[in-house]
């Protein structure tokens, strides 16, 4: 083991120098102060900065100007035995070693040798060569050197040469003599730069006579454009004095040919002295003939016109046969020719590219409109009113767009459907703005007529009651004024009463109705004195006041009853957003198709829906998966409409948590409302809410009576109301608790409405399938509905706190804990249930809790049908039997090994009968501990 450990230690690789482990009690070293920090070289010598003249850092020997030997350099010693070797000192011998280092002035680094360096010579060397050539004894000798240049060509040169390139030629495939004049073949790829199209067609025939078809030429060599920047203040193309002429007196004109001869730089300096005897002095333009000049040759350089081109022509010199090579073979194929031209010369392992290099495509900038002015200024916003309409018009004209005629809306006021109309589109089915539009025509009509009836009735009732109320409150003018203000605000607040004409609360009294309509019109115009104006002046003060109240409340009523529906059926706000993805509905649309597909076992595309789904960014991170939509902030399905029309959201929509009990029929209006009013802070709020609630419930009950059989008792809302009336205070507390649950499901509208609207819903099916198990013997619709309702409620009770749970047992004469547990189990069940606890009599158990569920409901809601009451008795009976069974089991518990735990809890339950709930809880808490 130990050996292994040491081995593994050796295998470790450590980087850097580890810190010395601190001794016990030793203080960590203090950092060195700034003034004590010194710079030393690698030999430990101080490096000090000496200043510009003393050589910077560490000049000389140990910061002296001297050498190792001191001020006097070593003297020349040479003896017969010991010959001093004549050393040639190079510049390096006089340099410090720092200078040769990487950052010194003469760094020794790896550089490309000449073999691989490109042919571009450095300027100094070139100049030196030129100088040398000029001063050479034989002036043209360097030209020879150039010709016999050793293999100093770069690799690129050699490669090109092997491919058949010759110096002086251009690079590229061989071309016909006049490629420009050939018709550009669209199928032929053009390598390199494409030649400009077109050209003179007329001169085509002049050289065709002596050139064979397939003679090709190398392309012209391209002389690179010299981009030497002009960095002097001389005139264009001015050339100053040539130093060669100035120094050596040679006229540059004659030796230009040889001036480019290469020569080593080493003999440059030495050779100057040799040439001393030659003529010196300045000669050239504008200097005249000096005294030292012997001949006065061409003092004033004469420019002849022949040196200039007078005609624009091809640059190609002579006959254009530059770089001509004899044709190798004559081939008729034109297509393969281009490739074959290279075949003999392509290097091994290389092949001709089949595709040209993609040239960068440059798009021209967009053309600006002719009248574009590159200046933007913001126009002042002028509100459209009568006095500044002229200004508006002027402004809009200056903006270049014609004034809209007042009939058409501006673009931003149009919604999608209006735009579609303007564009002549047929309205899309899917983009209906209301749930009602999904209904069939028949249903629509039915609902419509019901609604009319309801509205009318409700309005009349409302108006009447309000009138009564108003007459009661005539004595106090102050609150009426307050009300006046409030309704004015409420009405002018936006909900335009455009459809007020359809609502006639005072239809019986046409005079009054007329006054009311007038009032509404005035209201819409925003007049404060709308009420006063429309009232009949012949009426008494009392009548006027009364009518004023009536009108104002009727108007309010209209708004609220109208907004009741609109608050439930939300308009899709996303309609106009084009970026919203309208995914077809997951649920309701084609479930029947899918069902038939499932029946035919045609799984696959028929039964599959695929949606875009956005996982949360953090979830992706946790799953180690890249975010599929990195720049989307959306989470979940990208549909908003789904939520709006979902039945489930609908059921929990009710935001008014503590609504007054629903009104089943309009006749009972005033009485039960009284206690609610006392709770409300404001009377106006109350009336508003009541109206909302009333109208919708009326609507619902009417709808129900039309849709289903006219069973008033089976309607849950009526039932509920009655229950509420007769229920004790404690039950109200329960309800309140229920209502204050986060689910807020306390006052759902009945299921019937949703059945009526969503005729075929899968949810209903699943819930009914679950119900079928229990009450198959019960009569169908009403009972199931009641089941649903009651199961909802009991469920809610269940979801409330445990303390509340413990409140319930007192209703049950002899509660036993495990049974209760089972009940709750079964009641909470929505989908497939959990199997029963004890296997042998599973069937029996299964039946029992289901019944008990009903029983419990009935205990809560005492007003039920008679036959159900009978059934309840039956169930009670059965339940007793069930309990007896449990007792039996308990008696045989000692012998059986079955479930010691359940017997545990049972033994607890025995004591429960006379124990306080707290005690029970305490015991329960102790249970698991004891088992451990």
């Amino acid at each position: 083991m130990a050996a292994q450990d040491s081995d593994s230690d050796e295998d470790l690789v450590s980087y850097g120098t580890g810190l010395e482990p601190l001794e016990e009690g030793e203080r960590p070293k203090k950092p060195i102060p700034l003034q004590d920090q010194t710079v030393r070289d690698e030999k430990g010598r101080y490096k000090r900065f000496h200043g510009a003249f003393s050589g910077g850092f560490s000049a000389g020997y140990f910061n002296t100007v001297g050498s190792k030997e001191g001020w006097t350099p070593s003297s020349f010693v040479s003896s017969r035995q010991n010959r001093a070797d004549r050393s040639v000192l190079g510049p390096e011998d006089f340099m410090d070693e720092e200078d040769l280092s990487e950052f010194g002035i003469a760094p020794k680094a790896i550089v490309t040798t000449d073999d691989f360096a490109s042919k571009t010579k450095d300027r100094i060397r070139e100049k030196a060569r030129q100088l040398a050539a000029a001063t050479a004894p034989i002036p043209g000798a360097t030209l020879l050197d150039d010709l016999i240049t050793p293999a100093k060509l770069s690799v690129g040169f050699e490669l090109l040469r092997k491919m058949g390139w010759k110096e002086g030629q251009g690079i590229g495939p061989r071309v016909k003599r006049r490629p420009r004049r050939q018709k550009p073949d669209p199928g032929v790829k053009v390598y390199g730069c494409a030649l400009p199209p077109g050209g003179s067609e007329g001169s085509e025939d002049e050289d065709d006579d002596y050139l064979p078809e397939n003679v090709t030429f190398a392309p012209k060599d391209v002389t690179p454009v010299d981009f030497t920047p002009k960095d002097n203040v001389h005139g264009l193309a001015y050339k100053g004095l040539d130093p060669r002429q100035a120094l050596f007196g040679t006229s540059g004109e004659h030796f230009n040919l040889f001036g480019e001869g290469p020569e080593g730089a080493s003999n440059l300096l030495g050779d100057i002295g040799v040439n001393k005897g030659r003529k010196l002095g300045i000669s050239g333009q504008a200097f005249g003939v000096g005294a030292l000049e012997e001949e006065d040759d061409d003092i004033y350089a004469t420019e002849t016109l022949s040196k200039y081109d007078t005609v624009l022509k091809d640059e190609e010199p002579g006959d254009g046969l530059y770089g001509w090579t004899a044709p190798k073979q004559y081939k008729s194929q034109k297509e393969s020719e281009k490739d074959l031209r290279y075949v003999g010369k392509i290097l091994d392992g290389f092949s001709l590219a089949s595709k040209p290099l993609s040239s960068k495509k440059i798009y021209p900038p967009p053309e600006l409109p002719r009248d574009y002015r590159p200046v933007h200024y913001f126009r002042p916003v002028v509100a459209a009113s009568s006095e500044n309409s002229h200004l508006l018009q002027v402004l809009s004209e200056s903006a270049g767009k014609p004034m809209h005629d007042p009939g058409t809306h501006s673009r931003h006021q149009l919604n999608a459907s209006k735009r579609g109309e303007l564009l002549g589109e047929t309205p899309i089915k899917g983009s209906a703005t209301s749930v009602l539009e999904f209904l069939s025509q028949k249903d629509k009509e039915r609902i419509k007529e019901m609604k009319q009836a309801t509205d009318l009735k409700a309005a009349q009732v409302k108006a009447r009651s309000l009138a009564q109320h108003a007459s009661g409150s005539r004595a106090q003018p102050l609150p009426a004024d307050v009300g006046h203000c409030s309704w004015h605000v409420a009405l002018s607040g936006g909900t335009a009463t455009t459809r007020a004409s359809s609502f006639k609360p005072f239809a019986k009294d046409p005079e009054k109705q007329k006054r009311y309509e007038e009032f509404l019109v005035n209201m819409k115009r925003g007049r404060k004195d709308a009420l006063e104006q429309c009232l009949d002046p012949s009426m008494t003060e009392w009548e006027r006041g009364r009518e004023r109240d009536e009108f104002s409340r009727a108007a309010l009523l209209y708004v609220s009853s109208h907004s009741t529906l609109s608050s439930r059926f939300t308009h899709a706000k996303e309609e106009d957003d084009s970026d919203q993805v309208e995914v077809p509905r997951d649920q309701e649309n084609d479930v029947s198709d899918k069902q038939s597909a499932v029946k035919m076992k045609m799984f696959g595309t028929l039964t599959r829906d695929t949606f875009e789904w956005h996982p949360d960014k953090l979830l992706c991170k946790r799953f180690n998966v890249p975010d599929p939509y990195p720049d989307s902030t959306l989470v979940g399905l990208p549909r908003v409409k789904r939520d709006k029309y979902s039945v489930f959201n609908f059921l929990t929509l009710q935001e008014t948590a503590s609504l007054p009990p629903a009104q089943g029929s309009s006749e009972k209006v005033p009485q039960p409302r009284a206690p609610d009013k006392s709770r409300k802070p404001s009377r106006w709020d109350t009336s508003k809410q009541e109206k909302k609630e009333d109208s919708i419930s009326e609507f619902l009950s009417l709808a129900r009576s039309k849709v289903g059989p006219p069973k008033q008792e089976s309607s849950p809302s009526v039932k509920k109301e009655e229950e509420h009336v007769t229920e004790s205070l404690s039950d109200q507390m329960v309800n309140k608790e229920v209502d204050s649950q986060p689910e807020g499901e306390g006052s759902r509208p009945s299921m019937d409405l949703f059945k009526a609207i969503f005729a075929s819903s899968s949810d209903e099916k699943s819930s009914s399938s679950e119900d079928e198990q229990g009450d198959s013997e019960d009569d169908q619709a009403g009972v199931r509905e009641a089941d649903f309702k009651s199961s909802q409620e009991t469920d809610l009770v269940e979801t409330s706190s445990g303390a509340h749970d413990s409140k319930l047992p007192p209703q049950d004469p002899a509660p036993s804990f495990p049974i209760q547990k089972m009940q709750i189990d079964q009641r909470e069940e929505f989908g497939p249930r959990l199997p029963p606890v004890f296997c042998p009599n599973a069937r029996q158990k299964l039946e029992t809790p289901q019944k008990e569920k009903h029983k419990k409901n009935k205990e809560k809601h005492k007003t039920k049908k008679e036959h159900r009451r009978r059934k309840e008795k039956k169930k009670k009976h059965r339940k007793h039997k069930h309990k007896g069974k449990q007792k039996n089991k308990k008696s045989e518990k000692s012998s059986s090994s079955e479930s010691t735990d359940s017997s545990d809890s049972q033994s607890d339950d025995e004591g429960t009968a006379d124990l306080s709930p707290q005690e029970l809880l305490r015991r329960l808490k102790r249970l698991p501990l004891r088992r451990q």
């Binding site: 997951d586 069902q595 597909a597 499932v598 076992k601 045609m602 799984f603 696959g604 595309t605 039964t607 599959r608 829906d609 695929t610 949606f611 875009e612 789904w613 996982p615 953090l618 979830l619 992706c620 946790r622 799953f623 180690n624 998966v625 890249p626 599929p628 939509y629 989470v635 979940g636 399905l637 489930f648 689910e743 899968s762 949810d763 699943s766 399938s769 198990q773 909470e828 069940e829 929505f830 989908g831 497939p832 249930r833 959990l834 199997p835 029963p836 606890v837 004890f838 296997c839 599973a842 299964l846 079955e898 479930s899 010691t900 735990d901 359940s902 809890s905 249970l927 698991p928 501990l929």
Partner: protein, 315 residues
């Protein structure tokens, strides 16, 4: 889930009852193997969760802290933590060794039917009868879920997680597969309320059991039906199904007290293993060996293949 490496011997079905654990925690709602199959978890209706060695039959630890019966549990990949969900609407993260509650996630509106860890045990996914799947972050201290998948229209009965997918079966008759990598949701309509779903071990198929007493093997990518397995009884209860350790057989609980084995390819009934008189409510298959755990009533049975020899005596 690790892919099993191929073994030379042919498939053997666990049909020898090796051990019966009397869990003593009321009805066993679910029995689950841990990640390597050495231990198992039983979820009791007496609010406890127990950790066992199923082969020896020893109880290792009891985890109590749920406020109601425990309906499902899962172990993390490193066996360091457990998660469970139950009727108290809470999802609980446990420390295996200490038995303490590490976190309690509340937010579901109904009881939690099923819980799963993701591959790295950084997220717990829980499906509830409130028709939502909630993804709870185990790393941060955030009380609310990272994301709520509320596309289901009815209670979620089963959730399974692969490295980048979440497979959920719902009572609304649909199997939804959330693909995090693609950012897509695939919803397959089956029609009948779904009780259990699972991935095949090769990750290409999904097995779906529904209340019409049918198991269906669906192609994961296209949703096509690859096989249908009937013969058992599953009409009312939420029963488990799974695939054998090498994807050779389809295994399902039944309400008539048997466990049914079908050949995956042929669809023929291979074995109907009688367990007892009641309902087989849960089962779990060993990840690598032919070993099956079934839960009936208050006890758990451990089954091995016929040739299996126990290494040591009863523990």
């Amino acid at each position: 889930m690790a892919f099993p490496e191929p073994k030379p011997r042919g498939p053997e079905l666990p049909q020898k009852r090796l051990k019966t654990l009397d869990c003593g925690q009321g009805a066993v709602r679910a029995v689950r193997f841990n990640v390597d199959g050495n231990y198992c978890l039983t979820c009791g209706s007496d609010k406890t969760l127990k950790l066992w060695n199923p082969l020896r039959g020893t109880l290792l630890r009891t985890y109590s802290g749920h406020g109601y019966e425990v309906l499902d549990a899962a172990g993390s990949f490193d066996n360091s933590s457990l998660c469970s969900g139950g009727g108290d609407k809470a999802v609980v993260l446990w420390d295996v060794a200490s038995g303490q509650v590490v976190r309690k996630f509340r937010g579901h509106a109904g009881k939690v039917n099923t819980v799963q860890f993701n591959e790295e045990a950084t997220v717990i996914l829980s499906g509830s009868i409130d028709s939502s799947i909630r993804c709870w972050d185990c790393r941060s201290r955030r009380p609310e879920p990272v994301q709520t998948l509320d596309e289901a229209r009815d209670g979620v009965s089963s959730v399974k997680v692969s490295d980048h997918e979440v497979l959920a079966g719902s009572v609304d008759g649909r199997v939804r597969r959330y693909d995090l990598r693609k950012g897509q949701l695939f919803s397959d309509y089956v029609g009948s309320p779904i009780t259990c779903t699972c991935f095949s071990r090769d990750g290409q198929c999904t097995l779906v059991s529904s209340l019409d007493s049918t198991l269906r093997l669906l192609d994961k990518d296209t949703g096509e039906l690859l096989g249908e397995y009937t013969g058992h009884k599953n009409r009312e209860y939420k029963l488990d199904c799974c695939l054998s350790e090498r994807d050779t057989h389809v295994v399902s609980c039944s309400e008539d007290g048997k466990v049914f084995f079908w050949d995956l390819v042929e669809g023929a009934l291979a074995l109907a293993l009688p367990v007892g008189p009641g309902v087989v409510q849960s089962l779990a298959y060993h990840p690598t060996e032919p070993c099956l755990l079934t839960a009936m009533g208050g006890s758990v049975q451990c089954w091995r293949e016929e040739a299996y020899e126990a290494e040591d005596g009863p523990g």
